[in-house]
C-alpha cells in the first residue's frame, strides 16, 4: 500500500524559547491509500495539532508532514476537513452550502453539474427535503451531514475529521458513524479521524494511533483486524471487546498523566 500521509519525525512547540511549550514530540507514522486511521489520546494532548498540520493550517517546528511525498504547503480542496463545530455557512441554504466549493475558481463546475452534485449528496446524506432550508432550522446531526456533503462535493482525496461527532447525542452519533462507513464504501477516501472515543475509533478505523499525554508521542499503534463493511453487531464481538479494554487502558493511563501535568502547571 502506498503511503499518502506521512509524519516524519514531527515535533511542534509553541512560544518563545525561554517558555517553550512542547506539544508534539518526534512523531512518525503513515496513513496508506484508502486507509481509515484514528488518532486517539487525552484532550489537549496535541491530536488536533497533528490534523491541523495535514490540513495545512500550521507547520511542524521540526520534521516533515508529507502528502503524497511532498511537504504540505497550505490548505487545499484535495483535503476535506470536518470540524466538531460543523462550520456550516449560516447565510447559505443547504444546497448553496454544498455548492459553495463548486463555485470557487479552484473547482468550478457549471450550474447543471453543480445541481447534479448537490442533489446527489443531499440524497446520500438524507437532506433532500431540506434543499432550501437555512442551517438554523437543522439539528446538530443534520448540520454535520451537511458539512460532510459540502466536503464531499469538491471530491477530496482525503477526509480529515476533528472530533466530528463529539457534539452529537449518542444515537445521532452512531447513526452518523454508520452513514460515514456507508459513504466511504461507495466513495473511498483516505481518512484521518481525531477522536477521544475508543468505541468510535475501533468501530470505524483500520488502525488506531494512541497518543500520550503532552508533549504527545505515539504510545502504541493498534491494528484493527476487522474487515469492511462493518455493522453494529461488531460491537458485540469478543475480539472487539478485548481491543476496547486494551485501548481504554492505554487512554486512561494517558488521561491520568495529562491530568497530573495540568495540576503541575497550575501549581
Amino acid at each position: 500500500m502506498t503511503d499518502r500521509i506521512v509524519f516524519e519525525d514531527v515535533s511542534v512547540a509553541f512560544g518563545p524559547p525561554e517558555r517553550r511549550l512542547q506539544v508534539v514530540d518526534n512523531v512518525s507514522y503513515a496513513i496508506g491509500d484508502g486507509e481509515f486511521v484514528s488518532v486517539i489520546g487525552p484532550s489537549g494532548c496535541g491530536k488536533t495539532t497533528m490534523l491541523n498540520m495535514v490540513a495545512g493550517f500550521m507547520k511542524p517546528s521540526a520534521g516533515r508532514v508529507l502528502l503524497d511525498g511532498r511537504p504540505v504547503a497550505g490548505p487545499g480542496p484535495d483535503r476535506g476537513v470536518i470540524f466538531q463545530e460543523y462550520g456550516v455557512f449560516p447565510w447559505l441554504t443547504v444546497r448553496q452550502n454544498i455548492e459553495f466549493g463548486l463555485k470557487l475558481r479552484a473547482n468550478r463546475r457549471d450550474a447543471a453539474r453543480r445541481a447534479e452534485i448537490s442533489d446527489r449528496y443531499m440524497r446520500l446524506m438524507g437532506l433532500e427535503d431540506f434543499a432550501d432550508a437555512w442551517p438554523r432550522m437543522l439539528s446538530g446531526g443534520m448540520r454535520q451531514r451537511l458539512a460532510l456533503a459540502r466536503a464531499y462535493a469538491v471530491e477530496p482525496q482525503f477526509l480529515l475529521m476533528d472530533e466530528p461527532f463529539g457534539a452529537l447525542d449518542a444515537q445521532t452519533r452512531s447513526a452518523m458513524q454508520n452513514l460515514l462507513l456507508e459513504v466511504l464504501r461507495t466513495e473511498g477516501k483516505t481518512v484521518m479521524l481525531i477522536t477521544h472515543s475508543v468505541e468510535e475509533a475501533l468501530y470505524l478505523s483500520a488502525r488506531v494511533v494512541v497518543m500520550t499525554a503532552r508533549p504527545t508521542r505515539i504510545r502504541e499503534i493498534v491494528e484493527v483486524p476487522f474487515g469492511y463493511p462493518r455493522a453494529e453487531a461488531l460491537h458485540e464481538q469478543p475480539e472487539f471487546g478485548r481491543l476496547r479494554s486494551h485501548l481504554r487502558d492505554l487512554v486512561m493511563q494517558e488521561y491520568a498523566a495529562q491530568a497530573r501535568q495540568r495540576f503541575a502547571v497550575t501549581d
Binding site: P75, W91, A106
Partner: protein, 249 residues
Amino acid sequence: MQRAALILLPWLAILAAWYAVHHSGLINPALVPAPHAVAARFAELGTGRLPLDVLMSTRRVLTGVALGIALAVPVGFLLGWYRQVRTFVDPLVNFFRALPPIALIPLVIVYFGVDELAKTVILFYAAFFAGVIVMYEGIAQISPIYLRVARTLGASDSEIFLKVVVPMTVPHMLTALRVALGVAWATLVASELIAAQQGLGALIQDAASFFQLDIIYVGIISIGFIALAMDLVLRAIARRLLVWQERLA
C-alpha cells in the same frame, strides 16, 4: 388586527396621559399645550415652513450618516479584524466617542464656519463613532471557523473576502447603520444650533425664543416620527437581507 391594537395602545396611553396632565391643574395649562392644539399647529405649519424644515433636517442627517458609515465600515472592519490594531486604537475611539457633539460646536464653528458643512461635520462625527463601535464589536465576534472551512474548500483570499467575510459583515453594517441613524437624529438639534435657518432643530430654537411651546412639541414629535419611520424601513430591509438569521435585526 390584534397586532395593530397592541402597537397603537401605548401611543393612545401617552395621549391620554398628556390630556390628563393638561387638565389636571397640577401644571399651568399654558405650559402644557393640549394634544389637539399641537395637532392644529402641526397642520398649520404643514402648509408653511415644516416641509422645508423636514427636508433640510433629513438631508443633513442622511448626509452625515452616509459619510459617517462610509468611514465607519472600513475602519470598524479593520479594528475588528486585526486584534493588534485594536489594542492601541480602542482607547482613541472611546476617548472621542465620549465627547458630546454639542461641546464640539465652538471648535467646529472656528474650523468649519457656520454653513451646511459645519452641521454635517457634527452629524458625521456622531454617526461615525456610533457606527464604528457596532461594526468592530460585531466583526470581532465572527468565528474564524468559516474562514478555515472556505480555505479547505479551495477558496482564494479574494474569494474568502467576497463570499465569506462580506456576507458575515452585512448584518453588522445594517446594525451600525440603524444605530448611527438614531444617534444622528438625536444630535440633529445640536447641529442646528449652528446658525440654521431651516430644519427641525431651527424650528424648535426659533419657537423657544418666542416661547411657542406648541411649535416646540411639533418639532420634537416630527423628529421622533421621522427617526421611527427610518428605523422601520431599515428593519424591513434587514429582514429581507438576513432571512437566514436566527434573531431578526
